[in-house]
């Protein structure tokens, strides 16, 4: 019968010790433990959320980078082709300029040559005229040096003249 009869002594001690244990544990053990657990859980969930957000941000950043890269590449291509065009243009321009310069020089040379030629011809003509006059003078001098000759010539000339 004693087995199922509660004893006053044990009930008293149990109530006392259990109440004390409950109060002390609540204050010194369960409160800090539960607080820590809760804090840690919040920490973990916020960390996870942050990781997710960071991941999304990274993805966004990567996409941005890619876009930037594409734009940069396009820009580079544009610059390159621009440069090429400019180069071609400069070369062409230079070529044209050189050509025209050459043409001009050649033309100038020709004009010069023509002038020189003309001058030379004129000089030759003058020289020939002077020479001719000189020769004629000499011839005339020789012819007119004896009187008989001169008369003969005049007669001859007069014979040629036909007075009509």
């Amino acid at each position: 019968m004693e087995l199922i009869m509660p004893g006053i002594g044990l009930v008293f001690w149990m109530t006392l010790v259990f109440s004390l244990l409950l109060i002390l544990l609540k204050k010194f053990a369960w409160k800090p433990i539960m607080d820590s657990l809760k804090e840690r859980e919040q920490d973990i969930s916020s960390s996870l959320a942050m990781a997710k957000q960071t991941k999304a941000e990274m993805k966004q950043l990567q996409a941005d980078n890619e876009k930037l890269l594409v734009v940069a590449r396009q820009e580079r291509d544009a610059i390159l082709s621009d440069a090429k065009a400019t180069k071609d243009q400069i070369i062409n321009e230079a070529k044209d300029k050189a050509q025209s310069e050459a043409d001009r020089i050649v033309e100038a040379a020709r004009v010069n040559i023509e002038n020189e030629k003309r001058t030379a011809l004129t000089e030759i003509k003058t020289q020939v005229a002077e020479l001719s006059i000189d020769i004629a003078e000499k011839v005339l001098k020789a012819e007119l040096s004896n009187k008989a000759e001169q008369n003969k010539l005049v007669e001859k000339q007069l014979a040629n003249l036909n007075f009509n």
């Binding site: 001690w13 149990m14 544990l25 800090p32 433990i33 820590s36």
Partner: protein
Amino acid sequence: MIINKFWGGFSSVLTTVLIAVFLFGASVAFATDDSHSTEHQAEHSQKKKFNAGEMIFNHVLDAHSWHIMDVGDHAISVPLPIIIYDTDGSGLHFFMSSRFEHGHAAYDGYKLLKGKIVRESYIEHNSELAEAEEHQEDAKEAAIYDFSITKNVTALFVSAFLIFFLFVNIAKTYKKRKGEAPKGIQNFLEPIILFVRDDIAKDSIGPKYEKYMPYLLTIFFFILINNLMGLVPILPGGANLTGNISVTLVLALFTFVITTASANKNYWIHIFNMPGVPWWLKFPLPLMPLVEIMGVFTKPFVLMVRLFANITAGHIVILGFMSMIFIFGEISPVAGYGVSIVSAGFALFLSLLEILVAFIQAYVFTLLSALYFGMAMEEEH
């Protein structure tokens, strides 16, 4: 004044005795457990036959001294303080249980009779007469209230200290390792704490569970640790604390008081005027209210009985298997040896089963307490 003096003396005596006996018990207990069954028991049985029922009940029930073992005919036990309040006017009495010399001597006008403290004048009859006498005696004589620090009270102190220091230590670890992964014993107990919180409290009580966490965690670990300590055969284990009806009664009363204190209007309406039930079940004969009021008290009662019966039954069955060794040993030593192998095997198996039961009972008690709290706070739906 007396109490102060007593406590001072008691605590120093207790600590020295505990340390001495623990060391002694640890070294000798193993050797004597076996020798118990053979030579000593054989000598012993010449004077007194082995009584399995008596042995089992001595282990299962509370005692005024902590019996460790018998060497030959001499019992080795730790004396515990006796505190009695006598209503005859002499008031409180304090002395050590060793004064009784295991029931052989009387002290201060009291003596120990079958584990109970009675007045010296109380005449010991043969068993049947004594039982009948007991009731008459109680009726005509002033009652003696026994507040002794018995075996179970000692075990209660030890386990309460153990639980307190264990969890305060863990709480310190939590504070020290803030935001870090659990470590050591904290790592081992954290899943259990989380289990109590998430699977017991949150599921059964609902959003207001936090208020009840300290109580639920305390009863869970109190029952679990005492169940497990009860399975350890050497000091300070081996006391059948959670298998004692007084202890389970107090635990159930706590649950009952907390349930009643946290009950809302809806809970009382359900008891006195259950909605959705035909009126003739409530008037003129209040059948439903009667059933509901009975339910209010049967819930904690069942809690009390379940824990007590499960743990006591476990102890009795294990001890029963151990007793078989000595029962067969009395017939012939060879049979004793033969049976000891089987019995030890079964006892081992049952001990493992009891470890499982220790967890299950702690879980069930906590879960049902949480469910009752949840029911008491349930809102109308």
